[in-house]
C-alpha cells in the first residue's frame, strides 16, 4: 500500500503539471511563455500533453496492476475476517469492557444491534453475541474494483472511440466521416428568449446508412439531450452563421453556394478568385472598434467579406443585405443568412464500463464509511451481573462513548 500512496502522489503531481502548463501548444509558444530551457523540457517530458502521454498511461497501468494484485490477494483475508466477525471469539482481546451490567439485552438494543445469539462455553459460561455491518468490510475492496473499472473503461474508450463533427444548414444532407452514414438536417432552430439570450439549440435530423437508405431514423437533438441512432450518439454541439453566396455574370447565375462564416468559395470560372465570408452580423451597428451585432435577431444583417486573388487581398468590407461586390465581370452577393448546426457524432463502447466503475466506487465508499463493522458481546458473571464487551472497526472513541451511554457505565480496555 506504500507503493500505492507513492503512485497516487505521482498522479497528483502530474495533474498539477497538466493543469498549470497550457496544454497542446507548440515549442515556439512555450519558448515565448517560459525560458528556452523550460520550454525544451516541457516538450521532452511530454508536459505539453500530460494526459495523453505515454508515461501518464504507464502510471495509470501500474496503478491498475497494483489494484488488481491488491484486490486479488485481499479476497481471502476479507472473507476470513467477515467469518470471524460473525462468531463470538474465545477471548475478547482488544474489546472494550464494561462490568456489572444488569440488563445486557437493553444495551444491544440501545446500540441498534440485532437480537444477540445466546450460547454457553464448555465451562458453562452464558454468553450473548451479535455483530453488525459485516458487509462494510467489503467496502474498500468494492471501491477499488470500481476504480479499476473506471480507469480501464476510460482508457479503452480513449483508445477505441470514434468521433466526427458534421455541420450544415436545414435541408442539407452530409456524410458522417467514414461511417457510411448519411445525416440529413431537417430543421435547425436557435430559440431566443425575450432578452435575446439563447434558450435552446434544436436540430431535427434523419440518419440512414448507405447500404440501406430506406431504413431511416429521425430524432430531435438539443444541448442536453443527445440522440442514439445507428450505434452512434449525436450531440448538439454548437452553431454559427451561414449564408448563400451567388455569383452572377451578365445576368446569368454562375454558381450558388451555402458557406459558413469563416469559409470561402472559389469562383469556378476563375479559380484564382476566392471570396470569404469572414463574419456575419445579424443586427449590425458600427463602433470605433469595428462592426458589432446588437442582438441575435436578424434585424439588420450584414456580411464581412474578403476577396483574394491568389494570395493577394483585393478587398475587405462590410456588405449589407442587397449590396453587391463587383470584380471583373462578376457580381457577387450574399443572402439568406441562417444558422447552421454543428453536431458531434460519437461512439464510445466503453462509457458504460466507466459509468459502472463510478457507481461501484460510490457503493464501496458508502459501505466503507457508513457500515462500520461492530461486535457486541455479554458474559454472565458468577454474581448474576453481565460484563459487556464491544469492538468497532474504526472510530473507537465514538463507539466507546455510545457504549458508555447505552450501558450507563464507564468502559475500560480489555487487554
Amino acid at each position: 500500500m506504500k507503493f500505492a500512496v507513492i503512485l497516487l502522489v505521482i498522479l497528483i503531481i502530474s495533474c498539477v503539471f497538466g493543469s498549470f502548463i497550457t496544454q497542446n501548444q507548440t515549442l515556439s509558444w512555450y519558448t515565448e511563455h517560459y525560458s528556452e530551457r523550460v520550454a525544451a523540457a516541457i516538450i521532452a517530458l511530454h508536459l505539453d500533453d500530460v494526459f495523453h502521454s505515454v508515461w501518464f498511461l504507464v502510471i495509470a497501468g501500474v496503478l491498475c496492476l497494483n489494484l488488481i494484485l491488491c484486490n486479488l490477494t485481499r479476497i481471502r483475508p476479507i472473507i476470513d475476517k467477515i467469518r470471524r466477525a460473525g462468531k463470538a471469539p474465545e477471548r475478547f482481546e482488544g474489546y472494550l469492557k464494561i462490568s456489572g451490567v444488569e440488563d445486557p439485552e437493553d444495551v444491544f438494543e440501545k446500540m441498534h444491534f440485532p437480537k444477540p445469539a445466546a450460547d454457553e462455553t464448555e465451562d458453562g459460561e452464558k454468553r450473548l453475541f451479535a455483530s453488525k455491518n459485516r458487509a462494510g468490510l467489503f467496502g474498500a475492496w468494492i471501491c477499488h474494483l470500481g476504480i479499476l473499472l473506471l480507469i480501464v473503461g476510460f482508457v479503452l474508450g480513449q483508445l477505441t472511440h470514434r468521433e466526427y463533427t458534421v455541420y450544415g444548414v436545414a435541408g442539407e444532407t452530409k456524410t458522417v466521416g467514414d461511417t457510411g452514414l448519411f445525416l440529413e438536417i431537417n430543421d435547425f432552430q436557435v430559440e431566443l428568449r425575450d432578452d435575446d439570450t439563447v434558450s435552446e439549440y434544436r436540430s431535427r435530423i434523419t440518419v440512414y446508412s448507405a447500404k440501406d437508405p430506406e431504413n431511416r431514423a429521425s430524432s430531435e437533438v438539443t444541448v442536453n439531450h443527445p440522440a442514439d441512432l445507428y450505434g452512434y450518439r449525436f450531440y448538439q454541439n454548437s452553431t454559427g452563421y451561414a449564408a448563400t453566396v451567388k455569383v452572377v455574370k451578365e445576368d446569368a447565375l454562375l454558381q450558388e453556394n451555402v458557406i459558413a462564416a469563416g469559409e470561402g468559395v472559389r469562383i469556378e470560372e476563375k479559380p484564382m478568385l476566392t471570396v470569404f465570408l469572414q463574419a456575419f452580423y445579424p443586427d449590425l451597428f458600427m463602433t470605433s472598434e469595428g462592426p458589432k451585432t446588437a442582438s441575435g435577431k436578424m434585424d439588420n444583417p450584414a456580411y464581412l467579406y474578403s476577396l483574394y486573388y491568389g494570395e493577394d487581398l483585393l478587398g475587405m468590407n462590410v456588405l449589407k443585405e442587397g449590396e453587391e461586390i463587383r470584380v471583373d465581370d462578376y457580381v457577387i452577393t450574399f443572402s439568406d443568412p441562417e444558422n447552421y448546426t454543428l453536431l458531434q457524432v460519437k461512439k464510445d463502447s466503453f462509457t458504460w464500463m466507466a459509468l459502472m466503475g463510478g457507481l461501484i466506487i460510490l457503493i464501496g465508499l458508502v459501505l466503507a464509511f457508513y457500515l462500520q463493522q461492530e461486535n457486541l458481546a455479554a458474559v454472565r458473571e458468577d454474581d448474576g451481573t453481565w460484563t459487556v464487551y464491544g469492538r468497532s472497526g474504526k472510530g473507537s472513541v465514538i463507539f466507546k462513548e455510545r457504549l458508555e451511554i447505552a450501558a450507563g457505565k464507564p468502559a475500560e480496555s480489555e487487554e
Binding site: 500500500m1 506504500k2 500505492a4 500512496v5 497516487l8 502522489v9 498522479l11 497528483i12 495533474c15 498539477v16 497538466g18 493543469s19 498549470f20 497550457t22 496544454q23 494526459f51 476510460f154 468521433e163 428568449r193 432578452d195 439570450t197 439563447v198 434558450s199 435552446e200 439549440y201 438539443t222 444541448v223 442536453n224 439531450h225 443527445p226 450518439r233 450531440y235 454541439n237 458531434q344 460519437k346 462509457t351 466507466a354 459509468l355 463510478g358 457507481l359 466506487i361 460510490l362 465508499l365 458508502v366 464509511f369 457508513y370 474504526k394 472510530g395 473507537s396 472513541v397 465514538i398 462513548e401
Partner: protein, 273 residues
C-alpha cells in the same frame, strides 16, 4: 422580482446573524457561561433557516435552481458549511466547533457578497437535472471538507496551546477530534465522488465527452486523490492526529483552489465567460 428583493434582505440579515453568532461564541469563551453558547447555537440555527429561505426565494425569483454562478455557489457553499457544522455540533455535542466554523462561514459569505448578484438566464448547456445534483452534492462535499478543516485547525491549536481549564473541558479530547475530522473527510469524499460522477454524466450529455481534463475537472480529481492518500496514510502509516490534521488542511486548500483558483487562474469550460 419581489423574491429577489426579499433574497437580498435575507442575505444581509444572514450575514449579520453569522457575525452575531461568532461574537457570541467569542463572548462565551471570555465569560465561560453555558447560556451564551446555547444562545449562539440558536442564533446559528436561525441564520441557517433564513439562509435556506434566502436561497429558496432566489430560486423562485430566478425561476430555476439557484446554483449556477459564482455568487449563488458561494452562498450555497457557506450554507453547506453551516449545515454540516451544525450537524456535527449537535451530533458530537461540540459547541465550540461553532466558534471556529463561523469565521470561515463569514469569509465565504463575504466572498459571495463581492460577486455579481445579477440573475442571468441560463445558457442551454446549464439546463440539466444532472447539473443540479452535481452542484448540490458539491456543496455538501465542500461543507464537509470545510468542517474537517476547521476541526483540524482546532486540533492543531489545541496541540499548540496545551489547552487547559475551560478550553480543555469544552474541546473534545484530541483522539475524538481526530475521529470527528476523519468522519467529515469521509462524508466529503463520498459527496465529492458523487459530484464528479454526476458532473461526468452531465458533461457527456452536454459536451459529448464525460471527461476532458479541463482544469476544474483535473483539480477535482487532485482533491479527490489527496483525500484518498489521507485515508490510506491513516490506515497503513497510522497517520492519525497531527499529520492527519495537516493533511486535511492541505486537502481543503486544494478544495478552495478548485473552487476559486481554477476560475481565476486557469481557463476552461467551467468559467462560463
Amino acid at each position: 422580482m419581489v423574491f429577489l428583493a426579499i433574497e437580498q434582505y435575507l442575505f444581509t440579515s444572514v450575514l449579520i446573524l453569522y457575525v452575531v453568532t461568532m461574537l457570541l461564541y467569542v463572548l462565551y469563551m471570555i465569560l465561560k457561561k453555558e447560556t451564551i453558547s446555547r444562545i449562539a447555537l440558536i442564533v446559528q440555527i436561525v441564520a441557517l433557516v433564513l439562509h435556506t429561505l434566502a436561497i429558496i426565494s432566489r430560486g423562485i425569483g430566478a425561476g430555476r435552481l439557484p446554483l449556477t454562478n459564482q455568487y449563488e455557489f458561494a452562498t450555497a457553499f457557506a450554507w453547506g458549511l453551516s449545515l454540516v457544522s451544525l450537524i456535527f455540533i449537535l451530533k458530537f455535542r461540540f459547541h465550540l466547533l461553532g466558534a471556529f466554523a463561523s469565521p470561515v462561514i463569514i469569509l465565504i459569505i463575504g466572498y459571495a457578497a463581492m460577486q455579481s448578484k445579477e440573475v442571468k438566464e441560463l445558457m442551454p448547456a446549464l439546463k440539466s437535472g444532472w447539473l443540479g445534483l452535481h452542484v448540490a452534492s458539491a456543496i455538501i462535499a465542500y461543507g464537509a471538507f470545510g468542517v474537517a478543516f476547521v476541526l483540524s485547525l482546532i486540533f492543531l491549536l489545541r496541540d499548540k496551546m496545551k489547552a487547559k481549564g475551560f478550553l480543555d473541558r469544552h474541546i473534545p479530547p484530541a483522539a475524538k477530534l481526530d475521529v470527528i475530522s476523519y468522519r467529515s473527510v469521509c462524508l466529503g469524499l463520498l459527496f465529492l465522488s458523487f459530484t464528479i460522477v454526476s458532473g461526468a454524466i452531465w458533461a457527456e450529455q452536454a459536451w459529448g465527452s464525460y471527461w476532458s481534463w479541463d482544469p476544474k475537472e483535473t483539480w477535482s480529481l487532485v482533491t479527490w486523490l489527496i483525500y484518498a492518500v489521507y485515508l490510506h496514510l491513516r490506515i497503513f502509516a497510522k497517520w492519525k492526529g497531527k499529520p492527519a490534521a495537516i493533511f486535511a488542511t492541505v486537502g481543503f486548500i486544494a478544495v478552495i483552489f478548485t473552487y476559486i483558483g481554477v476560475n481565476t487562474f486557469l481557463p476552461g469550460v467551467h468559467s462560463y465567460k
